[in-house]
Amino acid sequence: MTVTTTGDLPGEVYDVAIIGAGVVGTAIARELARHRLRIALVEAADDVGNGTSKANTAILHTGFDATPGTLEARLVREGYQRLTAYAAETGIPLEPLGALLVAWDAEQLAALPSLAEKAVRNGYDETSILDAEAVYAREPHLGPGALGALEVPGESIICPWTTTLAYATQAVRAGVALHLNCPAGAITTGEDHHEIATPRGVLRTRHLVNAAGLYSDEINRRLGHEEFTVTPRRGQLIVFDKFARGLVDHILLPVPTALGKGVLVAPTVYGNVMLGPTAEDLGDKTATGSSADGLASLREKGARIMPELLAEEVTAVYAGLRAATEHGDFQIHADPGRRYVAVGGIRSTGLTASMAIAAHVAELLTECGLDPGPEREIEPVRMPTIGEAFPRPYQRADLIAADPAYGTVVCHCERVTRGEIRDALTATVPPGSLDGLRRRTRALGGRCQGFFCGAAVRAQFDAATAAQDRTEARR
């Protein structure tokens, strides 16, 4: 198994290299790993899923509101089915709560029937329109003034962190080489292979897949293409304390109108409630900060949707950048002459669509001359349970009896045990930072944000990192 974070890249020529180890890049790597191919997955950051994939609304979409006939609509629909099954198989936290698109005014109420029709055109016919009474019966803590809602029973909440990590873990165990801290520089395309300059040496590959997210337009231009330009659209979100979880049972989506998008209120699989996102078009691909204006506007909108939510403590605030383009669809293009596939413009539906995007890209690569050879079964993975809907280690007498480390809670707010932290630190794809550890275990992600456990968790992380360094040095 190959995961590298430093040192020179191997000199071999890969069959396929994928630039970007977000949810899309890792899904593609996992899909291709079902064939006997030499595959490299290269990532600029020190971890997988470190960009848009880690900071989004974490919803598994039915695709009911996609634009009918688009590639996105098809891939979201297929991806929803695939990822639902994959989550059950691997232990990715997923809760099919259903969504309510709550109408707060006459215009929004009037828009519901056409949204239901659009859902049917997208192959989803399980929606129903609820009157105000039915809405409040389902969501008694909603603010006053809801006139009705469109119910979409299939919308679900999911853990985006575990999803990306499961793909990466399975890919690496099946032979994919994951190279972290490896940003792609200049790309030279020759007769039979590409040469990608990186700070860790040259990466050589016959076929190239660009899954670089926010930077996919820049990589695309290096291959002589200009189909799309990424304009980051920032979404700020507020995560409320677990005590808010009892206030809301569904994903509460805004009704899209001409006046733009509202914000959603949704439970998270970790037992919190999120409010957001904002939607700000920015020029800066690194502007992942929150702003006073953004947070104030979220609180203002949240106060209307669910006033009681605002009385709860805030556990976290984060901002993610969507890789939005000037087009209304995913930008997935193949250039057979250059043995190249671009996967750009993957918006918030990318998490849901990831497995279907991967299958689509695999097909495009064969059109580019890749001979994948026969399919093979790859070893299934079981991911650690970090969702609240399933028993976690601290609740399991059998695990604790076998290993007392699962009975020693280190992060108290999130009830993360020493055993879980140890497992994450020694996993196939270990975290490169405390943030990465938080996404794997929830440690440090709770209401105290490290007041109680920050130093202890860091001590365990530092010890594991030092042990790894000693092992590397001996090699």
Binding site: V239, F243, T286, T288, G289, S290, S291, A292, G294, L295, E313, V314, T315, A316, V317, Y318, P391, Y394, Q395, R396, A397, D398, L399, I400, A401, P404, A405, G407, T408, V409, H412, C413, R415, S433, L434, D435, R447, C448, Q449, G450, F451, F452, G454, A455, A456, R458, A459, D462
Partner: protein, 417 residues
Amino acid sequence: MTPTDRTHRTVDVLVIGAGPAGLALAARLAAAGVDRVEVLDREQHAGGIPRHCHHTGFGLRDLRRLMTGPDYARHHVAAAIRAGAVLRTSVTATGWAAPRTVDITGPTGLERVTATAVVLATGARERPRSARLVPGTRPAGVLTTGQLQQAVHLHHQNVGRRAVIVGAERVSYSAVATLRRAGAEVAAMVTDQPRHQTHPARHLGTRLRYGFPLVTDATVAELTGQGRLESVRLRHRDGRTAAVVCDTVVFTGDWIPDHELARSAGIALDPGTRGPAADAEFRTGEPGVFAVGNLLHPVETADIAALDGRLAAGPVLRHLAGRPWTPGALPVRVEAPLLWVSPNRIAPDGPRPPRGRFTLRTTRFLTRPVLTVGQDGRTLHRGRLPRTVAPGRPFHVPADWIAGADAHGGPVRITVD
């Protein structure tokens, strides 16, 4: 072994939290002959927050001497064990299975413990940056004092080279000492108040010793930096902003009780303290469940928490002896600029609060304020405080008026003229 196997036990008193309050109470109860007094702590070592407060100043009111935090923690641990209380560490109370019945996770497995009296002594924590809605990026190097002290004193970790401290109250000065001990310089101490809120001698002593600018009337507008903190942007009262270059920022004070167990039991919280509403005898609204220490008043010094524990022994013993559970139910509330009052439930015919007075906090400086205690338009007490009161520091209102309150009237309100 099935996943849900739990050992069931009963004890007389289950104390959750082995800080000064829980330990002092357990020692008293065990010394008074209570058979099974068990104290749980989720940390590896008992003693609570003082374990990582290496400055002196502990023990003045309860032990009549001065010691460092770790010494003080050790003293209370030893006293509780000597008295016969059972201390268990690395065990976490995860929730309630029934009234006075707590589910516990520990390295030895899962337990369910039923107690005649459950005492919540879970303390308080500082609000982190996120809860304060401080905008900006999410770099490393953002701490609370609790994390800073543990990083430096318990784990000997590097905490950066140049720090901004947010807050200028007692705990903020502890953060200065801890940072300096870890070899970091203090770029600035920032408070949104017009001046610091600690004792002048402490402020002067710390500044003379360590030398750092105190920036008043300023708030943290933004954190910047990718990966590691690079700077903190301050906004002054007149709207000007200025960036302070630093790789560490410590958010101090702004305490909130760690009230998860209280709240998950359905115990009513006080809107001021955010801890469980409790009467002069530390009784909550849940029969058999008491609350002591900084869970009730975020925060007082450790010795005050320990005195709570001592004073709660009587009410707990009376409960064990079969006294009916009739806690004071008349709410005592404060109005802005006051922040909270403790205790915040009274029985007019009941005992006075500990030390015969109510403890309060304000959100801003008040110069010799006139405080009025009233109920339904009737004045029960009115008096001028002899000094200026500062945010983050306690002041008191005598409790000799409680017999005059109407048990069946509206809430008692404490206001400032």
